[in-house]
């Protein structure tokens, strides 16, 4: 048995450590552990803030899925205060959310995940002519020709197509060769490039993918221009409780949004469509096809057993989330849980998530049996507590082997992570694009989705199209490492269409003369109830996100988030078992324990976002340490 540690796990957001015990003979992972190794206490910082500012503070949870937390936050506050946002604001928020998803998925695939699959070193032995031929073949073969129901087409032809000439690939190869020869590898340094997994792909695929890595590094910035137009910047665009701050006028050149500004958004939307259909999906299917052929359908773990979604994209404005009207206005009704998908879409069990479930402590809660917190309730740390009543007291216990400031091995039997363990009916769930696809596919196949929307139909068609390419049924390929990565690419394609869809809805609404972007009726705190609470839901790029806010006397009295990466990366629960990262690692074969590329690959297939996942909950009456620092003492702290 070999115990391995990977810390830091890179090409993710934030600080993550994983450990695993691997049987060296069989390559089987016997046990594994996932630990969020930092927390920043943001929810405590939310206390006593003006709820109209909450989005700005809490958006700083994460700069990778920037916008996600701002959107969930304004939704939570609007739910609490009963504010209905104007149509234009809903469309603009949806365009921003979808453009985040498109950009975030592309960055994840090419810049965070790709180097687990492809190697610049392997690209050196590629034949540039054969690579050009391969590029053309990939473009011709690996397409999923699906589009949204959009009448407003503004692009004459697809720009930014992949280049497929030998000289182009020769140029890329020469550059890579010179970097490798120089010995100063920069971002390519110190990786396990000799790992046998890199031999699965022919050199030409490596070269093609490395070229696209570089191209997408420069292109991704253009995909979030909707954030810059509507929110002023990216990362961290600006929002407004009650709508959006970007007023619209067709008569003012100085206006935040006018025809010229909308044309910028339109261009970004067209670009996103082209990049996902000409680069991302063909590359993913070419590489994934080879992995599938090699029988690499492991790493599913919890996805086979249970996935959760909240649903996404309100079509038009709705009353509130808590009264269930959010769920009844969705473009994609993945609100619910699917269990046992690995047995087949027809045998899986679907449970719908309804408005009344949200405040029910039997449905949602978090336990801290293995997290560095302690509960003051008499039921102990293992008893899950609902986020509206959340409480936490940090309790750092250090590692099993090593010292508190120099870890060797963490304590899987005790506490080992700054992430809490979220539970649905006391059970673990995986969230993410894969969960969304599993839920919609299951609902559709079991006729539990009356009057399917175009987006839901497209999701089913996408899954069926990929099943044909891979020649494997969905219940086999979807709940795997490969399926998690493939579902993200499909989600990217879908969201590119959703951007177009809501852009057209925005234009059509503006045609009616409705220019309103903000509902300011309940802006003044004097119009608010003395006490209120609300929840904001959003299917972030990484999965189901929820913010829970209590407002008292015009100020935030309790603010809590349950975040996609908390669902996925959480530590185990003694009753519910391992979380999604841990289960996925246990479900993965490792060839060389000293070079556990397969483990970091399966972890990265979740697109980890640790800053999102770690947070401190509000403890009423907790004494806060006052820390004074002496600037010349080299970092010593004096506690008062």
């Amino acid at each position: 048995m070999k115990h391995i540690v990977v810390d830091p796990v890179t090409r993710i957001e934030g600080h993550l450590r994983v450990e695993a015990s691997i049987d060296e003979g069989s390559g089987k992972v016997q046990d594994s552990l996932s630990s969020g190794t930092a927390w920043r206490g943001l929810e405590l910082i939310m206390n006593d803030r003006d709820p109209r500012d909450a989005w700005a503070y809490i958006q700083r949870i994460c700069g990778v899925c920037t916008t996600a937390h701002a959107l969930a936050s304004v939704r939570a506050v609007e739910d609490a205060l009963g504010i209905k946002i104007p149509k234009n604001a809903n469309y603009i928020r949806n365009i921003m959310a979808a453009s985040l998803t498109v950009q975030d998925h592309i960055v994840h695939f090419y810049h965070l995940h790709a180097l687990d699959w492809v190697s610049p070193v392997a690209a050196l032995s590629a034949n540039p002519e054969a690579t050009a031929a391969l590029q053309n073949q990939v473009l011709a073969t690996y397409q999923v020709p699906l589009r949204g129901p959009v009448a407003l087409e503004t692009e004459a032809f697809a720009k930014e197509l992949p280049r497929a000439t030998p000289s182009y690939f020769k140029g890329i190869q020469d550059r890579v060769k010179k970097i490798v020869d120089s010995g100063q590898l920069g971002i390519f340094a110190a990786q396990w490039w000799d790992h046998p997994d890199y031999n699965l792909l022919p050199p030409e695929v490596h070269l093609m993918a490395v070229a696209h890595y570089v191209e997408m590094l420069d292109k991704q910035r253009e995909l979030v221009t909707p954030h810059v137009v509507f929110g002023g910047k990216n990362p961290h665009p600006h929002y407004l409780v009650g709508g959006m701050p970007c007023s619209i006028s067709q008569d003012d050149g100085n206006s935040p949004v006018n025809t010229a500004r909308l044309a910028i958004v339109d261009r970004a939307i067209n670009l996103g469509r082209t990049l996902v259909n000409q680069y991302y999906l063909p590359d993913l299917l070419a590489i994934g096809g080879i992995y599938a052929k090699a029988g690499r359908v492991d790493g599913g773990g919890l996805a086979k057993e249970r996935v959760l979604g909240f649903g996404q994209y309100p079509l038009d404005t709705y009353n509130t989330t808590s009264d269930g009207s959010f769920f009844s206005s969705l473009l994609i009704r993945c609100n619910g849980v699917v269990e046992n998908f690995a047995a087949g879409a027809d045998k899986a069990k679907f449970t719908e998530l309804k408005g009344e479930d949200l405040a029910n402590p039997d449905v949602f809660g978090e336990s801290v049996g293995h997290a560095w917190y302690e509960y003051e309730s008499r039921d102990g740390d293992d008893k899950a507590i609902h986020p509206y009543d959340g409480q936490t007291k940090p309790k750092y216990t250090g590692p099993k082997v090593g010292t508190p400031t120099d870890w060797k091995e963490l304590d899987e039997k005790g506490k080992y992570s700054w992430l809490k363990t979220p539970l649905w009916h006391g059970k673990m769930c995986e969230v993410g694009p894969l969960a969304r696809y599993i839920i919609i596919y299951t609902r559709a196949k079991q006729n539990l989705l009356p009057d399917m929307t175009w987006a839901e139909k497209m999701m089913v068609d996408q899954v069926d199209a990929v099943s044909r390419v891979l020649n494997i049924p969905p219940h086999v390929w979807l709940p795997t490492m490969l399926g998690r990565t493939a579902a993200r690419a499909l989600d990217c394609q879908l969201n590119a269409e959703i951007e177009r869809f809501f852009f057209e809805k925005l234009i059509n609404n503006l045609k009616t003369g409705d220019m309103q972007v903000a509902n300011m009726d309940k802006w003044e705190p004097s119009t608010w109830p003395k006490k209120a609470k609300g929840v904001g839901l959003y299917e972030a790029p990484r999965g189901a996100l929820s913010h829970w806010v209590n407002i008292e006397g015009g100020r935030v009295s309790n603010y809590q988030c349950i975040v996609p990466t908390t669902w996925n990366a959480c530590p185990r629960d003694d009753k519910a078992g391992h979380g999604a990262y841990e289960k996925a690692m246990i479900d993965t074969q490792v060839k060389i324990p000293e070079k556990p590329l397969e483990l970091v690959k399966v972890i990265r297939s979740f697109d980890p976002c640790m800053a999102c996942a770690t947070h401190l909950y509000n403890t009423k009456g907790e004494t806060i340490r006052i820390v004074t620092t002496d600037p010349y003492s080299g970092g010593q702290t004096v506690e008062a």
Partner: protein, 381 residues
């Protein structure tokens, strides 16, 4: 008085590193491409075209800087902003202009081999590398609220900082502590400058900073082998020398007294001044007004959102809702004292270098006030 032009010296026994020109040669670019790159950089860095010769000379003769990028208590928004840069483009930057040897976001490697590579890089380029830090330092409970590689971030930072030629604090977290240092600061977070000994820290605040400001600072070092000129707060003057209010395209509306009174009212639709909606432009030093985001496309004010002052120290605890005016500055007539007042408040504790700066800002504000009153024209700098 300004901390300007601190030369980065190479040790004697260090292997020769290649220049930007050599890198272009090595990668098969033409001289023309190289010169085009220099022209882009010249304008990027706010230099006049007659500086082009110097930029070309610098790019030909100065070695590629090695960059180590570390993460403390952060959200990775600064990393993301960095790769949104349009000039230079991210690929050109990380593959040609700098040697980015350690970065949690982009580096291929992870775990032990990655940490070993960090050690080797620190040894090999001791005294020469640029350390870029994103995120705050947490010190409560011996720094165990921010662990990386099984060790507290604060320890890792202090270790790597020792051998750094220059240290860049990217973002308001690394510069001032940022969001996690907001009240009640449960993790004891602070900016990095207190934890890197006597080393000069280049503060590049903003939440996040503008992409081209982030890359511009590195490019300045890459091209000139020197730190850019800094102000008393350690910020590069070329990017933080103006208040957003001074460079805002809505400034004429302020001067004319044309304001949005509420979000989405007629004034907001027409793009009038957001001062009454709490805009922190008058007290914030940043390039949002002149560089803007996405090469001039927008910035929060242009998109109808009042500036929240994200490049200011402790802007999270300003004491007022972001859509309200800061109470201590009162109503409209006092606007011209706001910048000077805030500048004075922000330099407490760094008085040695601060005094001159405050005087300078005061002079500028006085000049501005005069201009507003129309008494006399004051020549710009």
């Amino acid at each position: 008085m300004f901390i300007s032009f601190v030369t980065i010296k190479g040790g004697k026994n260090v292997e020769k590193r290649e220049t930007m020109w050599e890198a272009y040669l090595r990668r098969g670019f033409s001289r023309r491409t190289f010169l085009k790159g220099c022209v882009a950089l010249t304008s990027l860095m706010g230099l006049s075209t007659d500086m082009l010769d110097k930029v070309v000379e610098a790019a030909e003769t100065k070695p590629l800087p090695v960059v180590i990028w570390m993460h403390g208590h952060e959200c990775t928004g600064c990393d993301e902003s960095f790769i949104r840069s349009a000039s230079p483009l991210a690929s050109d930057l990380v593959l040609t202009n700098i040697a980015l040897e350690y970065d949690h976001l982009l580096s291929a490697a992870c775990g032990e081999p990655f940490e070993q590579h960090l050690e080797e890089t620190v040894k090999k380029y001791y005294g020469q590398y640029i350390l870029a830090v994103e995120g705050a330092v947490s010190t409560t409970n011996n720094g165990t609220y921010c662990m990386s590689g099984g060790k507290p971030f604060v320890d890792n930072l202090q270790h790597v900082a020792k051998g750094a030629a220059a240290i860049i604090a990217y973002g308001s977290c690394a510069a001032y502590g940022g969001i996690q240092a907001a009240k009640p600061n449960p993790t004891g977070s602070a900016g990095i400058s207190h934890y890197v000994g006597t080393k000069q820290v280049i503060n590049v605040p903003g939440c996040p900073p503008i992409p081209e400001v982030m890359t511009g600072v590195v490019m300045h070092v890459a091209l000139f082998g020197k730190l850019p000129t800094l102000d008393s707060d350690g910020r590069p003057r070329q990017f933080y020398g103006n208040r957003i209010h001074d460079t805002c395209y809505r400034r004429p509306f302020f001067d004319a007294g044309m304001f949005a009174d509420h979000f989405d009212d007629a004034g907001a639709k027409a793009g009038w001044c957001l001062y009454k909606l709490g805009c922190r432009g008058p007290e914030t030093y940043n390039s949002c007004g002149n560089l803007r985001w996405w090469q001039g496309m927008s910035y929060p004010i242009q998109s109808g959102a009042p500036c929240i002052g994200c490049a200011n120290a402790n802007f999270w605890d300003s004491g007022a809702c972001f859509s309200e005016r800061l109470p201590k500055y009162g109503p409209l007539p006092d606007v011209d004292i706001i910048g000077a007042g805030l500048a004075a408040a922000s330099v407490v504790g760094v008085a040695a270098h601060g005094a001159l700066s405050v005087v300078q800002r005061h002079e500028r504000d006085k000049a501005e006030a005069k201009e507003n009153e129309g008494k006399e024209q004051v020549a710009g700098k």
